[in-house]
């Protein structure tokens, strides 16, 4: 047995990885802690650090750290003896043959699941001072959400087990489990379970009236909109899983499925969890954060996703991205009648979104056609110039834009067509969350669209052009066409963000659209990992969160104007410790390693090599 045991030695990389996870957990703990007061900005942090709340996160951090170090070791192949594959060594590390485990395995898994579920339930619950104390944890048994989490964790543990078991030992499920109807119904029930977990109305949970339509509408589970939404979501996931399964029956699709690390179903389950958190978590936040997740984090996520198409997918350096943001905002202002020049017809901001997309797309194409023939550095300078031109025009063309004094008032989002009557501020939730949910509703389809774009012929062509434009041309791919395409798509995304922010701020000032915004969004993309949608989202969220956190607790007299200093510092740190970004795409990461090994050029900013090298 001893020969099978892994040598336990940590190198610098492992320590770095572990420390990062741990520090992240600590940060999370402080950030989710109680709010500070103006008189005692640091008191809150102190209180947070010494509350039991923090220990839960520390345990979480330690677990996360050891897990990621462990995974890294196995991946790097450091942890397996000569004859064993990494997969086998995983089993020997756990000290048992998981695949053949029977009842004892399930008992262990169940205990783990219960513990994790308790932690999760406490974590996602409303803030209390003695979080993660034993009493508080035990109290979680009173919440339905805990049982939801138990099922969820068991399911994850089980899929994990299946992944690492050998093919012969795979559990054969009874036939009915594989039937379409079983899956769809089960997923709908799972969605229902999620709704139950997420329902903030705790006191009534175990009363009978909770599950009926009667009684005060806020108390009845079935009359909550989220209940239906989550159940529908579950239904959709189930249907999707069945369809995906059908698809994998063709040979090529099976082959393709192997290219992703996880199975389609797991991926979709993870999306479901992300969606769940995105929709439910904000309800527990303080008003400060409810505003911040739209205005300082959400919008920048959206901008970064758009710029990611240009920088990450197509590999073009665009320093004038803010110009399209401004264009979208001013188009919205124009059609709302908030500018000195008057439109032929007044449109509600909702209806001005298509116009903003159109204008930005057109200007993207017009700017792109002549400039995208240029090599990287020249393109950067031209786009920089374009950004400045728009900025100067917005400032100086007083008769058109209202100049530095700003525009008139831009009305809020309303919808007044037969059948749908909707006004954003008339809804039950507080005003800031409305914008957040609107952004979410716009962003989720955009994310899906962009993901399938990246996995399509178009995305592969972008990768090809980025890597070697000469080779791509030799196959018949027009570099210019795809670059202009990326430019236009990025621009229109930015335009939509512009409409949102113009409505949110109500009045536009040219100073909102300075060069720094372009740079910030570029940093977000680089920090998160160029070319990876998930990475860019994570990167923007992390940076946005840190900045808002500093502001919230007014650490070291932090003010909003200081943020560029911190952004710069974070970029430098990222370049030293993780130059490929927090969560790089696989393609980009490989390009990066190629570049380090001198095989190609991963630098999005450098010129593609020309034909003379052929």
């Amino acid at each position: 047995m001893s020969s099978r045991e892994p040598r336990f030695s940590l190198n610098k990389e492992d320590v770095r990885l572990g420390a990062t996870c741990f520090a992240g957990a600590l940060l999370l703990a402080v950030m989710t802690g109680p709010a500070g007061t103006p008189e005692q900005p640091l008191g809150a942090a102190k209180q947070a650090i010494f509350s039991s709340h923090v220990f839960g996160f520390l345990v979480f951090g330690a677990l996360l750290a050891s897990l990621s170090v462990f995974r890294r070791k196995v991946r790097m192949g450091e942890w397996h003896s000569r004859r064993e594959t990494p997969r086998r060594s995983m089993r020997s590390v756990l000290g048992m043959r998981l695949a053949t485990m029977g009842a004892s395995w399930w008992l262990l898994a169940f205990v783990i699941a219960v513990l994790i579920a308790l932690l999760l339930a406490d974590y996602t619950g409303p803030y209390v001072a003695n979080k993660f104390s034993v009493a508080q944890l035990m109290g979680q048994f009173h919440n339905t959400r805990t049982y939801g989490y138990i099922v969820f964790v068991l399911w994850i543990v089980n899929s994990w087990r299946l992944r690492f078991s050998t093919r012969e030992h795979r559990v054969h499920l009874p036939a009915f489990v594989k039937s379409v109807w079983f899956r769809v119904v089960a997923s709908a029930l799972a969605g229902f379970g999620f709704a139950l977990c997420a329902d903030p109305w705790l006191p009534e949970r175990f009363s009978f009236s909770y599950f009926t339509f009667s009684g005060p509408s806020t108390h009845a589970f079935l009359s909550h909109l989220p209940t239906w939404l989550w159940s529908l979501g579950g239904l959709f996931l189930g249907a999707r899983a069945v369809l995906a399964d059908r698809k994998t029956s063709t040979k090529t699709n099976r082959l393709r499925a192997r290219q992703f690390g996880v199975s389609t179903n797991t991926r979709f389950a993870l999306y479901g969890v992300a969606l769940f958190v995105a929709f439910e978590a904000p309800k527990f936040m303080s008003p400060f954060w409810q505003l911040a997740i739209f205005q300082q984090i959400g919008i920048f996520c959206f901008l970064a996703i758009g710029l990611n198409i240009v920088v990450g997918f197509a590999g073009l350096l665009d320093l004038g991205y803010v110009a399209f943001y401004a264009l979208g905002a001013y188009v919205c202002a124009y059609f709302s009648g908030a500018l000195p020049i008057h439109p032929p017809f007044i449109l509600s901001p909702f209806l001005s979104i298509p116009f903003a997309i159109l204008v930005c797309m057109l200007s993207g194409v017009l700017l792109g056609l002549p400039t995208l023939r240029l090599r990287g550095d020249y393109l950067a300078i031209v786009t920089l110039g374009f950004g400045e031109i728009i900025y100067v025009l917005a400032t100086n063309l007083q008769s058109v834009t209202g100049g530095a004094n700003g525009t008139g008032i831009i009305p809020s989002f309303t919808m007044n067509v037969p059948g749908i009557h909707f006004a954003l501020n008339g809804q039950a939730l507080s005003g800031d969350l409305n914008f957040y949910y609107l952004l979410l509703v716009i962003m989720i389809p955009v994310l899906l669209l962009f993901t399938s774009l990246n996995n399509s012929r178009v995305g592969r062509s972008w990768a090809a052009i980025r890597e070697d434009e000469v080779a791509a041309a030799s196959l018949g791919i027009s570099g210019l066409k795809y670059k202009v395409m990326a430019f236009a798509i990025g621009a229109s995304t930015s335009g939509v963000a512009g409409v949102l922010i113009s409505v949110k701020s109500g009045v536009l000032f040219p100073s909102n659209f300075a060069l720094q915004v372009s740079i910030t969004v570029l940093v977000l993309v680089i920090f998160g990992g160029m070319g990876s949608i998930t990475g860019v989202l994570i990167g923007s969220a992390v940076i946005g969160w840190i900045l808002q956190f500093l502001l919230f607790h007014s650490f070291i007299d932090y003010q909003d104007a200081d943020k560029y200093m911190y952004i710069g510092a974070m970029l430098i740190l990222a370049m030293i410790f993780r130059p490929q970004g927090l969560w790089p795409s696989k393609r980009r990461e490989r390009e990066f390693h190629d570049a380090e090994g001198g095989l190609g050029s991963a630098d999005a900013m450098s010129a593609p090599s020309d034909g003379s090298a052929a």
């Binding site: 995305g459 791509a472 018949g476």
Partner: protein, 272 residues
């Protein structure tokens, strides 16, 4: 009516400032033929390929590409991606794969270069997109099997051994359904057994896929056994043209190669 010359190169002269890479080159490539271009280093072989594929624009002369459909197109001045779409596939002297993409994806890029799905279709995954993707998957798999790389399906291109890289580049070019395939030193840097496999592959391409092949190669034994006809370039002009036997006994060619270090053996006559 289809012209039986797939490439007709007449009097092509290409200059870079004071350097003349090609001077008055004439070359006829018959449809379905494996034709080779040989010559010492710096003779202008790659320049000729780049002129045929639109990368360089020769100052004088004409290059006509006759497609099987009967259309004749002048290639000079046409951008490379449009030339490629005429049905001209090529590989490069130093292999230029998309290194971060997998073997499978590299070929798919080639296949998909001929498809029509635009950004909207790709975003919404319309039925046509799905059909095209299915097609490119199948085609890519078939090509992987054709060149013998099916076991390397998910390997990133940058971690392939040299011989496999060469074959992948050929498969990628084949993905575009070319009528003619231009191979720039496909055997450079490969070992003898890989060379044999490669020669077999090139013959198979010409025979089974009915693709005309234009080949640059320094390995004389390989090229003499493979090519039906050869052109010999030296200092940018054609000094000889003919079947392998004719070339072996051509005095001008022997002189040109005597100028370089590996004279007779380079022509493969010593081992005969």
């Amino acid at each position: 009516m289809t012209n039986d010359l797939i490439f007709d190169v007449a009097n092509v002269t290409l200059r870079f400032g004071g350097v003349t890479s090609l001077s008055g080159v004439n070359l006829q490539h018959r449809r379905g033929e494996i034709l080779a271009v040989i010559g010492p280093n710096g003779a202008g072989k790659t320049s000729l390929f780049n002129s045929l594929t639109g990368v360089y624009s020769p100052q004088e002369g004409s290059i006509t590409f006759n497609s099987a459909s009967g259309a004749s197109t002048s290639v000079i001045g046409v951008p490379p991606h449009k030339v490629a779409r005429l049905g001209i596939g090529r590989t490069f002297q130093a292999s230029r794969l998309f290194n971060a993409l997998s073997t499978f994806e590299n070929i798919k890029v080639g296949v998909e270069a001929r498809q029509k799905t635009g950004p909207i279709g790709a975003m919404l995954t319309l039925p046509r997109t799905r059909r095209e993707e299915q097609h490119s998957d199948e085609k890519a798999l078939e090509l992987l099997e054709f060149v013998g790389l099916a076991h390397r399906l998910n390997t990133p291109a940058d971690s392939l051994p040299y011989g496999d890289r060469r074959r992948l580049e050929i498969a990628r070019a084949l993905g575009t359904n070319p009528e003619v395939l231009l191979l720039d030193e496909p055997a450079a840097g490969t070992n003898p057994s890989e060379k044999l496999q490669l020669a077999e592959l090139i013959r198979k391409i010409a025979r089974e896929k009915a693709v005309s092949v234009l080949l640059i190669e320094h390995d004389m034994r390989l090229v003499m056994s493979l090519a039906e006809r050869l052109y010999v370039l030296n200092f940018g002009s054609v000094i000889a043209e003919g079947t392998p036997d004719e070339i072996r006994s051509n005095n001008k060619v022997i002189d040109a190669y005597l100028g370089s270090s590996d004279a007779g053996s380079a022509l493969g006559s010593s081992d005969a």
